[in-house]
Chain length 198, copies 2
């Protein structure tokens, strides 16, 4: 089975978005370069530095399935069934939407049994490829349950002060990280990957 | 005048200590190497990797004065008048201690007028050398007041979950950071320095 990786852009003080879900300046690095990256849906493209583009392509090239929470699903309307990365996604939710307009795409899978089931389902879908977890509640629950292999942090030199935290709802004692295996400085971001010690 | 630099070991989620002031595993990197670093007072020495030792010596070699808050002063009893780095320090406090047993060393200077006065006094003492700020309230107030040139973060791969934050009491809008000018991976720490944009 493939790796399970949590990934998000994070402020220097540990937040992945403002309280109102606005990412603020956390996504500046998606528009500071000359390399156009075309995506499967809106936004149709963004513009990375060559360094970030290389890192980005390596990262998305390995993803076989995403696991997201219900909040992100609702905010994006499930990307209308087409995630920008062009991969299927598992939505962890207490109750699947009854009449979701984009269910016909077949890319969204709803799991109600909890984080372990959600990741197991995503691993079935992903096969040997990576399962990527959205930061926030999903990543926090997965970390707490010992289900994460790597924590990828796109560390952004901003201070948000408050908002949604990367490591929300995590029992700190349950999370032991190793030294970063990847540190790639770019513009308005440093790409870092921390292995989870078992 | 010398630079004003905030510096601290920080967890990946932005904390510099637990709520009870215990640093937890944040200081592990002070004892994971073979290079003994002798200090002017307790602890008498610690043991860094060669990489961290080089970074450490560069850093303390430039410090001319520290600015600390009353909490840290009280916790350490003002290092009994001898800070481990062997430098004088300015204590920002509402009321200086009346009969402090170690006042005779002359290394402690008490300022009651606020953060601007505390840094101005420290800069007088430091001359062309760097004024170092303790993370927490002092660094937060100084950042908010636009008085900091660089934010040094010894980024430790641990999650604390709660505790004292590096960027406490900071108005996020007042803090604009640039991309790190220093990124030095070591063992149980990545040494990073972020310039403050004016």
């Amino acid at each position: 089975m493939g790796k399970v990786v949590a990934s998000a852009s994070m402020s220097l003080d540990g937040f992945v978005a403002h309280e109102n879900n606005d990412p603020g300046r956390l996504f500046d690095w998606y528009e500071v370069g000359d390399v156009e990256v075309v995506t499967a849906s809106e936004p149709a493209s963004f513009h990375l530095t060559p360094t970030s583009a290389d890192y980005w392509r390596d990262w998305i090239g390995q993803i076989g399935c995403l696991v997201v929470g219900r909040l992100l699903f609702d905010i994006t309307d499930g990307w209308k069934g087409q995630h920008p990365l062009g991969v299927p996604f598992v939505v962890l939710t207490h109750e699947p939407p009854a009449d979701w307009a984009h269910a016909h795409t077949g890319n969204a899978h709803f799991v109600t049994e909890g984080i372990e089931e959600a990741i197991a389902r995503a691993q079935e879908i992903a096969g040997e490829r990576t399962v990527a977890l959205a930061a926030g509640t999903v990543a926090g629950q997965a970390l707490g349950a010992g289900l994460v292999d790597e924590v990828a942090v796109d560390l952004v030199p901003v201070v948000l002060g408050s908002g949604h935290r990367y490591f929300a709802d995590v029992d700190p004692a349950a999370v032991r990280l190793g030294d970063p295996t990847t540190i790639i400085p770019s513009t308005r971001v440093t790409h870092m990957v921390f292995p989870v010690e078992r």
